[in-house]
């Protein structure tokens, strides 16, 4: 195996440990703040995935939006609700073992099914240059995806309005 492919596999393995390990940390950690930090770790692993998949712009977006904004928001919410965090009773509900069973079963089913499909994988080399890719993305967002593009901004406006109304009446 050529050295660059070896490095790719190695990075993939490290990122998988980060992503899945972080994900497990999120769901099993008793301390909510630690959960949120594990979430950051997991999302950080996904950045590595995007880089491996040649989606550099999405990698940066992931870092900026997920880690820089959404995680901060989650940490804020946790820190604003100290009672939620300091709980020392069990963080799991009674049906947790059913949930675990569902999770494992679904994973097994998915892994088997996905493994049996013959994916029509395209030629790996056919990829636009990085800069061209970002500008293609811009053209796509304002061309064929113009409606979703505008709808996203309306959606965010709606979310903002709703969230302000909800958070405001408790602020005073």
């Amino acid at each position: 195996m050529p050295i660059d492919q070896l490095v790719q596999v190695l990075v993939f393995v490290v990122m998988t440990f980060m992503t899945l390990g972080g994900g497990l940390g999120v769901v099993v950690s008793r301390n909510l703040f630690h959960s949120a930090l594990f979430l950051v770790l997991s999302l950080g692993g996904v950045i590595g995935y995007y880089v491996l998949l040649d989606a550099g712009f999405l990698a940066a977006v992931q870092l900026m939006v997920y880690i820089g904004a959404i995680s901060i928001l989650i940490l804020f919410a946790i820190m604003l609700s100290p009672g939620l965090m300091m709980q020392h009773q069990s963080q799991r509900n009674e049906q947790w073992w059913v949930a675990a069973l569902v999770g494992v079963l679904l994973f097994v089913v998915l892994a088997v099914v996905l493994g049996q499909v013959q994916w029509p994988v395209a030629d790996a080399q056919a990829l636009a240059a990085p800069n061209a890719q970002v500008s293609q993305l811009g053209v796509a967002l304002l061309g064929p995806y113009a409606i979703p593009f505008e709808v996203i901004s309306v959606l965010l406006l709606t979310a903002l309005v709703g969230a302000i109304i909800l958070a405001r009446d408790t602020a005073d």
């Binding site: 703040f33 930090l37 870092l63 820089g68 901060i72 940490l75 804020f76 820190m79 890719q133 970002v134």
Partner: protein, 390 residues
Amino acid sequence: MDAIAAWLTTVIPGLGLPLAHLIVQVVYSAALAFGAPVGIVVAYTYMERKVIARVQDRIGPNRAGPLGVLQGFADAVKMLTKEDITPAKADRLVYNLAPALASVAAILVFAVLPVAPGVIGTDLHVGIIYVVAVGSLGELASLMAGWSSDNKFALVGAFRTVAQLVTYEVPMVIAVIMVVLAAGSMQLGQIVAAQDVPFLVTLPVAFFIFLAASMAEIGRSPFDLVEAESEIVAGFHTEYSGMKFALFFIGEYMHLFAGAGFIATLFLGGWRGPGAGDGSILAVILGWAYFAVKTTVIIFVMMWARATLPRLRIDHLLDFGWKFMTPVGLAALVAVAVALKIPGLGSPLLRWVAMLAANGAVIAVSLVAIAWAARRSGSASLRGVAGVKG
């Protein structure tokens, strides 16, 4: 960097070009990770002390070495040998990770900073958004430090720091979008290449927004109320001492330098200047010198502001970000976008004039808006600022 790699292949026989590139990259990243923090902190803390001392009619450090130039090293020894106290109630792991994350985040932005023609860690095609994104790791570090210290002041400090950082990240990103609009690329190399006329001239609104937002992001006076001693002790790093405090401190100065460096790169043409280029070694050194001078001038302006301006109050600070810089930034963004689509803008000169005109219009409109707001409000100081009588 490419030239050095090519040169290495001629010096060491049998060395392939990819491996030579790798060697150059490893050496350069080691320099960024170890040399740059030490050099920047020592040089700029010294400069800061001298500048502020001058402004305040003092002499500044003058004991350690000639003219006190060794002061930084003396501080480093002190930090290293100081006892490092972890509060008993702290969450140890998070408490130790926070300063490390702060310094890692501060070092990482240097990867895309073009310090001289051809000398850049990697010219990422998402360069400028990478900078903004990595900067947000600093917010995470502040929150981790504040939370894990389990101290009231640290918590309030962390909340304030992050509120301030997120508030100023918005206008900063808007200014960045304006630069990207004008340069047509997020790649820092291309942004520098696009500045035949520095963006300071064609996008003055973006420049001032970016300058003020960077000063706030760096968390320095007049935006340093995250560590307003009289209110919340030292902010989120109240409980930190010794080397862990030093890591936050290194992070702050790296951040200062990187902030000034990116202002120089985005708006002052970076390493560009007469005679600079990647043709010869001399031209590269000249380019590096231009970059260093521009960056140091920006840093001097920031230190000057720190020495002369009083600290803002937190509500004023947040208001200034949300209610002035963000709307002005959005208006300027739309104005520039519209101006660039005026039919018949063939030549670069016309594009520059159009951008400048758009910026001028935004400045005029915002001055009128300030005057209008000043008339409506009862605030005498606001009227003074806006030059409104009565």
